[in-house]
Symmetry: D2
Amino acid sequence: MNIDKPKCYCGVFGIIGSEGPAVKAYYGLHSLQHRGQEAAGIATLHESENGKKSFSIHKDNGLVNEVFKDKDVFKSLKGFAAIGHNRYSTTGGSSIKNIQPYIVNYKSGHLALAHNGNLTNAKELRKELVNEGAIFQTTSDTEVILHLIARSKFEDQVDQVKDALSQIKGAYSITILTDDKLIGARDPYGFKPLCVGETKDNGFIISSETCALDINFSTYIRDVEPGEILVIDRETKSPENFISHRIHEERRTHKHCIFEYIYFSRPDSQIFGQNVDKMRRKLGKVLAQKHPVVDKDGEKVIVFSVPDSSNTCAIGYQDHLVKQGINSKLEIGLIRSHYVGRTFILPGQEKREVGVRVKFNPVKGVIEGRTIVLVDDSIVRGTTMKQLVKLIKEANPKEIHLRISSGPILHPCYYGMDFPSKDELIANKFNQDIEKIREYLEVDSLEYMSVDEMLEAMVNQDPEHFCTACFSGKYPTKVNTAITKEEYED
Amino acid sequence: MNIDKPKCYCGVFGIIGSEGPAVKAYYGLHSLQHRGQEAAGIATLHESENGKKSFSIHKDNGLVNEVFKDKDVFKSLKGFAAIGHNRYSTTGGSSIKNIQPYIVNYKSGHLALAHNGNLTNAKELRKELVNEGAIFQTTSDTEVILHLIARSKFEDQVDQVKDALSQIKGAYSITILTDDKLIGARDPYGFKPLCVGETKDNGFIISSETCALDINFSTYIRDVEPGEILVIDRETKSPENFISHRIHEERRTHKHCIFEYIYFSRPDSQIFGQNVDKMRRKLGKVLAQKHPVVDKDGEKVIVFSVPDSSNTCAIGYQDHLVKQGINSKLEIGLIRSHYVGRTFILPGQEKREVGVRVKFNPVKGVIEGRTIVLVDDSIVRGTTMKQLVKLIKEANPKEIHLRISSGPILHPCYYGMDFPSKDELIANKFNQDIEKIREYLEVDSLEYMSVDEMLEAMVNQDPEHFCTACFSGKYPTKVNTAITKEEYED
Amino acid sequence: MNIDKPKCYCGVFGIIGSEGPAVKAYYGLHSLQHRGQEAAGIATLHESENGKKSFSIHKDNGLVNEVFKDKDVFKSLKGFAAIGHNRYSTTGGSSIKNIQPYIVNYKSGHLALAHNGNLTNAKELRKELVNEGAIFQTTSDTEVILHLIARSKFEDQVDQVKDALSQIKGAYSITILTDDKLIGARDPYGFKPLCVGETKDNGFIISSETCALDINFSTYIRDVEPGEILVIDRETKSPENFISHRIHEERRTHKHCIFEYIYFSRPDSQIFGQNVDKMRRKLGKVLAQKHPVVDKDGEKVIVFSVPDSSNTCAIGYQDHLVKQGINSKLEIGLIRSHYVGRTFILPGQEKREVGVRVKFNPVKGVIEGRTIVLVDDSIVRGTTMKQLVKLIKEANPKEIHLRISSGPILHPCYYGMDFPSKDELIANKFNQDIEKIREYLEVDSLEYMSVDEMLEAMVNQDPEHFCTACFSGKYPTKVNTAITKEEYED
Amino acid sequence: MNIDKPKCYCGVFGIIGSEGPAVKAYYGLHSLQHRGQEAAGIATLHESENGKKSFSIHKDNGLVNEVFKDKDVFKSLKGFAAIGHNRYSTTGGSSIKNIQPYIVNYKSGHLALAHNGNLTNAKELRKELVNEGAIFQTTSDTEVILHLIARSKFEDQVDQVKDALSQIKGAYSITILTDDKLIGARDPYGFKPLCVGETKDNGFIISSETCALDINFSTYIRDVEPGEILVIDRETKSPENFISHRIHEERRTHKHCIFEYIYFSRPDSQIFGQNVDKMRRKLGKVLAQKHPVVDKDGEKVIVFSVPDSSNTCAIGYQDHLVKQGINSKLEIGLIRSHYVGRTFILPGQEKREVGVRVKFNPVKGVIEGRTIVLVDDSIVRGTTMKQLVKLIKEANPKEIHLRISSGPILHPCYYGMDFPSKDELIANKFNQDIEKIREYLEVDSLEYMSVDEMLEAMVNQDPEHFCTACFSGKYPTKVNTAITKEEYED
């Protein structure tokens, strides 16, 4: 069953100088599973006794658990360094060729690469490269980066990477293995998170989120900076010896994806310098402050979340209701099945309703006769929410008030998030008329956050440092919005 | 990764007189997945054009999703009635032959049977039957019931079932398909739950918990009573036409398994006449009343649960702390991975620690510098809890106080719950010395509930109506405790 | 693709007193694969350190290679003795429950049993047993034998087996494991083959054909005699210590299945006291003597077989043509694909033709312009043969003469062979009018062998010692031919 | 179990202008399975309603049956043309990326390519390409061809192909799909076979052997000529409209791989202008003429083959013995298991012996007391043959004489055949001392054919037109034999 949420970026991971890098990559990808559930892969870099370097790889469609269910694959994933990737397809189809990491041989040796994000000039670059005789085996924009590296005039692999990245535009957080180094790189706007940490045995990990450090008993050092190419070789035993390059001389205003705080990242991760759960709780508080709910008869309002992504937000919301003196209580009103995984829904007239029921069941004792505040982080199409409201109503609440800890999604994301086409977005379908959306969803009230309110919740951070394009349409980089995103990426 | 919890009973399901009974059984088993993750099966009863009845069955090891991943199996699961079973092996090994439902041919026709519970006189009965020439193809005590039915002197299938059940002792909630009827039966003590509900198209469902009604758009009618044999045939279109038999004339004092409220059942289910989430919240409240935590410096204490089974309990706990005027806050301090499924832990020195990390990650911002109350429903071996405490400590809490919403588990269950052997139970290992357990777990304080406290939380219910044998050693039925449970069941 | 041949019996295997019995059973079943390709299983008997006996089993649908593709299963198939079974379903559906060996627990301990053949009084026995309260979990007639053993008045397992076998009628070659013995038994008529051999390490093997001895480096000792129960225990180190029982006191005239020599057994096996390839060559010779082919223009006739089952017969045929002075040459006129295995035929108008093409391709250089004698062992429906002739004709032979080394199949077999229903047999469809069959198959001449001719080919053997019922309708035991075989077995 | 034979080339297939090209490619690959059992793939070319062309592909490790076991894949393999490939890895590891066909996007559109053979200048070309910035995703030399096409200065796809092929050296039979054409091409020496045929619905097939035409009801037109690029577009409805290009202006002396006639090709195929079975029979005749066997006591000698590859040869051998007046008889002395497929051999001291036994069993009645001539086509390491002889000896022949219908293999093949390393070849191990090989194999006599004898058997063909390098060391093209083949291809 597909839930109605924006589809995520991907997750990237890299490790060097630590024992059992493939196994640590496996755990790391496991902890980053929420960033991409379609495919997973790990590539390792091995040095044989005669000093010859070779790469090994295992990748396939499926969850990390499924792709690596045969433990024997780890026997072949030998080496002193590894990179890994969880994938949700943004551009590029679901063919096995599109699964990352990619490994290639080229003039300067081997290269393995894992990419999170979406390039905005991939189409033009691809055209140029193809005209020069390049062969493309995948439809992924990541392959463009590989060709740029291979065609670079520079001889040193790091220089080649820098040369290639200086030509690409858009969003990217990347891990690369060369024949002897681990490289992490992030676009100048810092759209996506990327951090570096240290293992207990003085190796280093580069990963999308800090949860991949935690699972590996590793400590967070710092973020890979926007616009930075961070190089760690096998001998590096201290962060002081990291080598850092700038992709471009000039610095750009950071444009962090605000949706990472709203929904994508794990609440136990720290990204963009802040704990995710803190930001998510704060979104709940601002939501409560600007969009409170009071029972018309003065009775207690019951606050609960659509589990699990909105749990922290709901806590913040109810907490702030209390602070405002509103009689309220936090409850668990919906039970989420832990086994939903690949449950299929058999055909039949009630298919959509069953889909929601397989995933959620309302707790009747909590709901019956109460004024309910249902807190969720976002609405995309609205189809799931409509069914969910219907389901909750079977438990006979007094009223249902829906509060969303983000704004109406109106515009496509060109940086790596995947929504349905513009016309399918509920906010566009009803011409941004919230009252009409409320009617469609059949709730007693519906309130979103404004862009300013969301930015207000971004405590300790410059509001200028966020990309809010999917809400505001203000794209930090030049994109051709005259054509559809699908055409754009074709 | 196996978490350190009592292993559950099983889940049973039955349906008659409704469209697509196999698909509804599939959804029902899906919602009962928490009751048994080892194996699943569905049997259907079909009538061909010439009036001939036949049974179809599909069953295998694995989760419901895995066993039924090929939708084509539903094509063969035709018919007008179905029963289903989720299994965690209690007695009987993990062989495919032990997977239920069982289907047999015998003198009076066909019979399919699914059983939740454990018989206490299976060994003796089996011995007798074998001496009379019976062949046993499985090691399960459920097969005993089938032989008793087949050897009954009665001619009517329902009479045979009654005859058989009158001879067995222990715990059982059963669904049976005969050649034309669905039967639900429950032991006289009512150890395990069993309820009956009505579908939208006037069919009937019998299932372990009401969540299996909800997922099928069905309404709860009533429980199958302890000691009742409830018979529903294909023509039954109203609960008034249910035919009810008593297994024994005399009634016994109900002895509901208190662990169903503490841990096993889903919080959105209603069992034994009460909503589970309500009882679980109440357990939290009594726990807070009797075992509160106050910060030594008067600061706010942070309450959080080991997700997800203790979530509701933690809400009750924190709510009651507030009522007692204790400065406290409910938070989400542990993030649980939704993808842990069949994640394997690769060998290595930190294997146990990794196991906990793969499943849980602490939210640092919530924990750091705070006095923490960690609420969990039970401790079995204590190994997972020890690692979990260690993990939480990495986030530097001021103090950790552990509160358990049940008592120390000391005695084996002969009615269908599975613990490790008596000696492995942490409370026995430390001779019930709570202070020593606290030291072992390295928490600042540890408090369990007493049996009386647990029973106090069982609002609206007679304390006499619960089996608390695993805590108190008071078994409602005669069991031979002189021998180990393993020998008992051998 | 299903070829148009009678479907075989099954293959049975047993071993005791030799190292690695499960692995030897695996090889044995591999060599007996031609006797049943639907399912396979191995059961082993293990004694733990404390002297306790236990059985292990692994069985599933598929070829031996497929069922045992995971080598790890052999780790669990421990023990000092094993039995195995290859299955083609005769009676009993293709459910996993019907796969043999069966293992049961009953009053005297454990029993594992593998059965080749078909009982003619299973229906009556089953009825009686069921009336006495027996439960049947399978639809196989083999389960009847288990119940008879379990209900026997005798205390000794061997006596029980004798008691059970004395009540059953029809065809059976059986291997049994009790808690300490390997037993081989064969019906009094000796319908099916069963032999005993000795391994290099002084253990013993009982198996359907001698090819299962050869693959295990073992030497043939003798056949298990018709009507014999042969008992070998773990301590037996010499054939002299075999214990032999008679099922019935009186002896019956042997009635070996003549189709074993015609088609079923492997040519490298020895059964019924003779090498199969010798008998098959002799069938070819008699066929040539009675039904020679001479080119009308005195040119050389080209003899080739439908590979591989008729290869030996074709050699005998051409050899005898030469002896008769007929100008002839043996060739390979059809190439058989070795990879046909589970090749599917996609829908389309030429489906049948493609089916034959996927399996066979004519060698044009051999066929063009020549008078061809195509030798095959049997024709059932005739559909494959019709297509094969059409295919050969594309290579432009002068004439095609079809010679069959058996007679027209007219009657059902009640002893374990599976044909299509009586009406589908080509010889019945054309009312035994050979000329009409010839026309249908579009060959220039068609000749079968008469029953007398077939028996004449059975050199060194008493013609009375064969069952020819499928050709002659003379059933050696009483069978109710008034009803169809399907009803008979229902 | 791996038999001890040279490993084959690959098989290629292409089809255009016929209904259901993917299904026909499936049957074609099925018939070419003997040319490569490691992997298989099919790519199709589809035109959507708006005229847009797209490629679909399905490929994986395994036999054709295994790779295409899910019929649903054919739903996605839509289109009006297809190419397919069976692979045995020659150069390039067994990674999934190396499986063909390859599909790429490049400046002029799409291209799918399947290659049989081995290039001798791939290493140099790869080096050049890499220096120009090319990325290699596979280790296969086929990828070189793709890069050469993509970098060609020409605009037309056919011109690009010609440009690319003019730069490569070595052996290649290739099928290519461009956006609108099917192309077949063959190196100027014609090392490997490639033919073209016509389907019943006026489409065209290009394939390695004619057996892939037969299975598709298609008729042979002619071979793709050595040095020819044959272009067939969708509108082509007659062979007259084929467009033919020459790779080079000058023609080279054909150098057909003699091993295609000895062992590789199917006997029912026609290659290099002759029926394979005819050449194979002739090899047997010349072998008999030059290396006859006479029983020392004047008794009949028994001739049999190692099935199935030497069956035709053995017929020719025995036939010619008769012509020479030698008392002899053709028999089937070895039964080959049809189910050996992926049978594994479990560890143990007799592993090698078991390996042979699983595949072959001697027919005792044929062998005992007789003088045997065992005819085989080639010996590589000799390990299998040694075990086979041992196995045959268990049946007590009077004498065993081994006759090989080719010469001792001494030199590596650089054109697509795979042997073990030079040192492992039995003929090198014993320094070409046939007597020592005989002693090692423990046969009474051993005779190979000389190169001249083999060429003598190539009736109707110019002896100059064969490559015999693996026997003679005379390579038709320049190869660097100073280094090992492994280094050569590294």
